[in-house]
Symmetry: C2
């Protein structure tokens, strides 16, 4: 990973400096490291090591480092920092990052920190916290650069030089507003830079502007950024007035969080971080396993219904897990593709019927292929043509149900307003287990007994 170290003169980790008890080396190390690297080093430690380190060297926790840290690690260390230090760190940050730290705190500590903050900072934090969790109002930055359309490039540049410190630390676009403070276009800073100073913003601005509502969910905002390849977007209130901006660096974290949510939800894990203890891990995973136990018992009830057939032909017990397993995997494939297409908004009400038709045809083809293969295996293994026929029929039936469930369950959950990733695996594998055992054993009873 030489690239990731290219900004470091040498590879002296913080722990080395602390182990040597060398305060000078420590502060030199910190000055040299990118805040993201300091944050990374802290994340790699165990909870106990981390607390020990922070207690000995609280100066490690600057605003920059805190802004880069994973939420669960922030939550772990906050109780060990005092309110003044946190308020100082927050004041260095953009208000959107500060709000995220405040979200992780216990109520009592948050009150303390808000008291320790300057009145302006406090007002800004409280304004953000008044919005719902995961909405853009909470995540947006309140500072932005706006200009009326009759201004020239020169006017805009003069304005920025004069405003100086009150501008956001980083910005990429100047939003052009009308008299009602509504964004009607934008000028990228790089365009402003190379344009002649007497050009009017109205002649320079890009009019196809995508504004995001302050009450919009973060997932929706991330989708807009991705779809329109945005670097930043103006945020507007219910009246369409410009109230803030979102920048793409914050959106990347949202995208990663949403992706993580999807992939974990499909596996039935509610949340997981590397900082979790074993007990937290159990808590994140047991609920779904419990539901899975109930559905597995349901499938077993189907088997129990046919126990007389198994006693007579034990080969049924040998082959039935193959039918259920193949259906479960085919269903999971269809489900995962559908969940991903839904989250990328490729799968829409307009294209849903085409997707259902495609899944059904694909399931029929796949079912046919593997029905032939399993029938051959059954015939070679047990030398029984009728048993092979049973396996053949059950495989086709189960694959059809698997394909349909794989696409219908997430579409149904979505239509019902639920997250299609959460709990859809349970539905699909329940269908494939129950149908798998029932079609196999049921056909066996009809044909073989």
């Amino acid at each position: 990973m030489s690239q990731s170290d290219s900004h470091l003169e040498e590879d002296t980790p913080i722990q080395d400096a602390l182990a040597m008890n060398d305060e000078v080396l420590l502060s030199e190390t910190l000055a040299r490291l990118h805040p993201a690297d300091v944050s990374d080093e802290l994340e790699q430690l165990s909870a106990a090591e981390r607390v020990n380190l922070i207690t000995r060297a609280p100066e490690l926790i600057s605003g920059d480092v805190l802004a880069e840290m994973e939420d669960d690690v922030v939550e772990d260390i906050l109780p060990f920092l005092d309110a003044d230090r946190i308020a100082d760190a927050l004041s260095e940050m953009d208000n959107d990052d500060a709000t995220q730290i405040l979200e992780e705190m216990e109520d009592a500590q948050r009150d303390e920190v808000l008291c320790a903050a300057t009145p302006e900072d406090r007002a800004s934090y409280e304004e953000s916290l008044a919005f719902d969790d995961e909405t853009i109002g909470r995540l947006m930055q309140r500072a932005f650069v706006a200009a009326p359309e009759f201004w020239t490039v020169g006017d805009a540049i003069t304005h920025m030089r004069e405003t100086g410190e009150d501008l956001p630390e980083l910005f990429f676009n100047v939003y052009v507003i009308d008299t009602a403070f509504k964004p009607i276009g934008y000028v990228p800073v790089s365009q402003l830079m190379r344009a002649q100073v007497d050009v009017r913003l109205s002649d320079l601005m890009i009019r196809k502007i995508v504004a995001i509502g302050q009450d919009v969910d973060q997932e929706e905002a991330a989708y807009q950024f991705e779809k329109y390849s945005l670097i930043s977007a103006p945020v507007v209130n219910a009246e369409g007035r410009l109230v803030g901006m979102m920048t793409v660096d914050d959106i990347i974290h949202i995208i990663q969080d949403e992706n993580k949510e999807d992939i974990l939800a499909l596996a039935g894990v509610t949340d997981a971080g590397l900082a979790d203890t074993a007990v937290e891990t159990v808590r994140a995973r047991a609920p779904w396993l419990f539901i899975n136990l109930l559905t597995a018992v349901l499938a077993s009830l189907v088997i129990a219904r046919f126990d007389y057939a198994i006693t007579e032909i034990v080969a049924l017990a040998v082959l039935m897990p193959i039918v259920a397993s193949m259906g479960g995997n085919a269903g999971t494939q269809a489900l995962t593709v559908a969940v991903r297409a839904l989250s990328e908004r490729e799968l829409t009400p307009q294209s849903a019927w085409r997707a259902i038709r495609r899944e059904t045809i694909a399931a029929a083809i796949i079912g046919l292929i593997f029905a032939v293969v399993l029938a051959l295996i059954a015939y070679i293994w047990f030398g029984d043509r009728e048993l092979a026929l049973v396996a053949f029929i059950a495989m086709i039936v189960n694959h059809l149900f698997a394909g349909l469930a794989g696409i219908a369950v997430p579409l149904g959950l979505k239509r019902a307003g639920a997250d299609p990733a959460v709990s859809s695996s349970v539905f699909v594998t329940t269908v494939t287990d129950v149908v798998g055992f029932f079609s196999f054993l049921g056909t066996a009873v009809i044909i073989l007994l």
Copy 2:
């Protein structure tokens, strides 16, 4: 989704205009729509509708629209566009987007398009295509803004105004270079804008710069962008000289692609798009299902080994799928968390042992909980204390193996240089099926017979 439509004056889709055979309405509609929306509309059509549309109105396909389109849709429509139109569209695009379109072409068409391009464009495309697929050299933009450190803000601004059209369409940082053309810092354009014109770049620049090597894999670059919250990064060659830049809007697509790869790989799907036909769907899914069939047969061999026990006690056939299913799900949970942590680089060689210990403890606790529950179910259902004991032991054993396999398999694949998401599900569920059936039936033979 009123927000997504906020940049449209009205909601007239392209198809309406075409249905009315109204050429004027069509071109007006196109002018009003954001290229990303035109591209979206095309993606929602069936392959036949799309070709029909493009044949009737080839002007739909501008460079902007092509740049926004999904790769598989681009691949579908390219054969229906002539080389001159493609060359024109490409010349409007930044070289990184153009290269991606060229990648999707058949060799013969690529040669035609390269012939139709201007000599400078052709040279630039050929330079990009000389790099390996998915490396930064291929994806980067060759235009960037660089300045020596002794320049003042005024010098840099004058330089940009004079260079004008040759600058990249969008840029966010000016890279400060030394005499060997190595990047030693950067100045955000927004800082440049508000600084006094006589300030030297060396006084203004941020020295903690993250440069990316041109041979680096796109996944590594995406990780750097995410970790350091970068908006753009300089790309350097083997000697460390500045040769291009990457911007975050391209990185978002890479992040989404990598996420999609992970989630589909975990479900055993090689690739999938909404534009796929049923046959392509079968091709993307059958290979993994075939491997799953082999492992399911392996598990069945274990069952067959104990068929005499099942003939004697049919309850074994009823309960054994529960043990296997619970283990499979617990293993998939551990696996998914590990794959996600690996791709976010939270799980590193340093933290691996802690993760393995945590998974083992969690598996023991979960195993114990569900062993008790299953033992109770078995006892209530079949009234057999010894059968309950068998279920109890098998559940604990299988959960331990599931937890260990869930973390060890992806770590092992990673260490072996393979993608931990691909094929790890097969390994893990094979372990949990085989161990599940073997531990349950084996214990049953010892205790019950």
